[in-house]
């Protein structure tokens, strides 16, 4: 699927809903869990609050803040009508000069100060998030190519981590080095969630704790290449891993592969989660397959649409080719603490295919 084909699909859905236009909004605070309709509709990753107006018929207007950044948008998408504005609401006001039914996308996630003004500008707009994000549940050919490159960068970053992690280096130092390293490889961003300890309760943002011998490092490396995120989840021991940890990690890896095998076109996402849980429950870890130990077994990958959503028991989304998402058991076990293993997968007609060259294994840093 191409970008333009997806835009036509969104336009078709607009007509089905009886809308004349949709107003899509993003505040410029890019976050892994927050979908970005601007990126979906225009391919533009904004610095500040930004809006897209998609008219039925296909005309796209992009309102860019800060005003000086409009030149970048216009150069990247010369086919769009780009409006430079220092205030996204004021910029939008000039676009609304005709009658017709409007829908809004991304409004609930906008900052209150902007959302209230938008609501006054388009008081009757209906929430239309699904029109955009559901249509973008399958990645375009370009997004898939970017995902492959992001996966390559993630794996190189992981190798770099194995080179630099040693006792005395702080979690923060590792995280900033990894982000810098991935940028040197072409990633414009990287969600580096990394922490360590002898018994982790979760994976969390890094802080100033220095690594110690015997630590278990858990890390999510999530580079973004031209706006497309891909993640790998890995676990590393500082020193030699004990037998218990090896066995438990093998169990989590087995669960992950069960999930990957269950990811088949036509099956609901919930089946992937269930397949992972089955492996763990069979070994007596049923109580650890639910919050607070685990909330989900994977997730979609933005920054555009984060469909097909979470790998969770309550996700009935039917899997289709060209969907991209994470499968990560990421399991807390009482004997070892939290263990990370996860791969980005692309749905194909034959099932889920990992985008990584090497899937997760327990790594050790020699002391």
């Amino acid at each position: 699927m191409t970008f333009d084909e997806r835009l036509m699909e969104i336009n078709r859905r607009l007509g089905e809903r009886g809308l004349d236009r949709i107003v899509a909004l993003h505040d410029g605070a890019h976050f892994i869990e927050k979908p970005d309709p601007i990126l979906v509709l225009s391919g533009f990753k904004s610095l500040g609050p930004c809006a897209v107006v998609l008219e039925r018929g296909g005309r796209v207007t992009l309102v860019v803040t800060p005003a000086w950044d409009a030149a970048r948008a216009a150069q990247g998408r010369p086919d769009l009508h780009v409006i430079a504005a220092d205030d996204v609401v004021n910029g939008l006001a000039g676009v609304f000069d005709g009658p017709g039914a409007a829908g809004s996308v991304g409004l609930a996630a906008m900052p209150f100060g902007i959302a209230q003004r938008i609501a006054q500008l388009i008081p009757d707009a209906l929430p239309a998030d699904a029109i955009v994000f559901d249509a973008a549940r399958r990645k375009t050919d370009t997004e898939i190519a970017h995902a492959r490159e992001a996966a390559r960068i993630a794996e190189l970053g992981y190798r770099h981590l194995l080179d630099i992690a040693r006792p005395g280096v702080t979690e923060d130092e590792l995280a900033v080095e990894l982000r810098w390293h991935s940028k040197s490889l072409g990633a414009e961003d990287n969600f580096v969630l990394l922490c360590a300890g002898p018994h982790n309760k979760a994976v969390a943002p890094s802080h100033g704790r220095p690594l110690q011998a015997g630590d278990i490092i858990v890390v999510e490396l999530t580079p973004s290449y031209r706006g497309q995120l891909v993640q790998i989840c890995r676990t590393i021991t500082v020193g030699t891993a004990g037998d218990t940890l090896r066995r438990k990690y093998a169990l989590v890896v087995e669960a992950m592969h069960a999930g990957i095998a269950a990811a088949q076109p036509g099956r609901p996402m919930a089946d992937v989660c269930r397949a992972i849980n089955d492996v763990l429950e069979a070994q007596g870890y049923g109580e650890f397959c639910h919050p607070p130990h685990i909330r989900r077994r994977g997730h979609g990958l933005g920054f555009g649409s984060i469909e097909p959503g979470d790998v969770a028991l309550d996700n009935a989304t039917i899997l289709e080719p060209d969907m991209l998402f994470m499968i990560h058991p990421n399991q807390y076990l009482p004997e070892t603490g939290y263990l990370l293993c996860g791969e980005p997968v692309l749905m194909t007609a034959g099932g889920a295919v990992t985008l990584t060259a090497q899937t997760a294994t327990l790594a050790e840093i020699e002391l």
Binding site: H30, I32, A115, W180, P205
Partner: protein, 366 residues
């Protein structure tokens, strides 16, 4: 200054009680309560993109998800942080507040907290405009109709204007790192744009930066771009914007490097020096801007460096009132940008603290 916002804030953000002791935060809170005697409590929002007020009162940097501080006049404080209960241990080192709860039950926590406020007292909402619309509705709804909610954002912003001695030291330290980043840039400038920017960023990270942001120009300073992929070519002149954060506090700088004399750069540097000489208590941002304009005849003002005088500290940009006289303790970024269709463009800047007798320059491109 708007830069590309990263998906996760990384870098050292632990609370350092030596650098910013608890007494500093108590003094800030005392000042807050004095400014609004009717308020029994304050609810302070911050997210990864906008958390200056939250950091000012709690030291907390919301690296991952948003956070809400619930502060009571009697001294009780709690912080609602993103993620489940298992994420709380990772958040604890970042703040002086001892009671941390998951943000997922924000409305419930806010409702319970509000019942403990003194009868008849109101609540200040600080940085509420940055709260997601849906969350704002839930939180305000949790107060019910009996508690008056006032916007206290302006009070905190006014407090944040005059930096304490410790804050000025923190901004000075960030400025030193900025200087090291620029030195890294100079060394690597002939190796291509991306190599130069990466060298600058690496120098900053290695010096203990909490965050680093950059923008660069491919067209001699007419426009600025965020990193979107490697650019191997070298350019002359090389126009860069760098922002460095350390211990919560920002320093920023516009730098232009060139092997040849550049008329726009010469004009911008002269203007910056003229304006810097005028920085002192009583001078107004409007007067400084006027000096910058009159010192660059024949050039247009560059849109990127507008406004030319901003406050800086926990916020990368805090707007200053053009007609409001400067006060001792303020820290400013003074930026001058010029452009001309024939002669090209240039942007330079300086970090400057207003003192009782004049100013201290923390960092300058000149």
């Amino acid at each position: 200054m708007q830069t590309m916002h990263p998906t996760l804030l990384i870098g050292p953000a632990d609370w350092d009680a030596q650098l910013m002791p608890l007494d500093e935060f108590r003094a800030r809170l005392d000042s807050l309560w004095r400014a609004n005697p009717q308020a029994g409590g304050a609810i302070v929002f911050g997210n990864a993109a906008d958390h200056a007020a939250l950091s000012y009162l709690t030291n907390f940097t919301p690296k991952l998800e948003a956070a809400i501080a619930l502060l009571s006049r009697d001294g009780a404080a709690q912080l609602l942080v993103g993620g489940g209960v298992n994420m709380i241990p990772a958040a604890k080192p970042l703040t002086w507040i001892g009671k941390l709860l998951p943000l997922r039950s924000a409305a419930k926590a806010v409702g319970e907290w509000s019942t403990g406020l003194p009868d008849g007292s109101g609540v200040m909402m600080i940085a509420g405009d940055a709260m997601p619309d849906a969350m704002h509705r839930d939180v305000v709804g949790a107060f019910g109709s009996t508690v008056a909610v006032d916007d206290g954002t302006a009070i905190v912003q006014a407090q944040m204007r005059r930096k304490s001695k410790r804050e000025r030291a923190a901004i000075g330290a960030a400025s030193v790192i900025l200087g090291e980043a620029v030195a890294g840039l100079r060394q690597a400038k002939d190796g291509g744009i991306t190599a130069a920017v990466l060298a600058a960023e690496h120098a900053a990270w290695r010096s203990g930066a909490q965050d680093v942001r950059s923008l660069f120009s491919l067209d001699g300073g007419r426009t600025l771009l965020p990193f979107d992929g490697p650019v191997e070519m070298a350019v002359d002149p090389l126009q860069i914007y760098l922002a460095v954060r350390q211990a919560g506090y920002w320093a920023e700088g516009f730098v232009m490097l060139s092997a040849q004399p550049q008329a726009p750069l010469i004009a911008a540097e002269a203007a910056l020096q003229a304006a810097l000489a005028q920085v002192a208590p009583g001078a107004t941002p409007a007067a400084l801007a006027q000096t910058l304009a009159t010192a660059t005849p024949g050039f247009s003002r560059h849109p990127v460096t507008t406004p030319s005088v901003i406050g800086i500290g926990l916020a990368l940009q805090q707007d200053v009132a053009a007609a409001e006289p400067l006060i001792a303790g303020e820290v400013l970024s003074l930026r001058v940008g010029v452009s001309d269709p024939q002669q090209g463009a240039a942007m330079v800047s300086a970090m400057v603290a207003v003192t009782e007798t004049g100013h201290d320059i923390f960092w300058s491109a000149v």
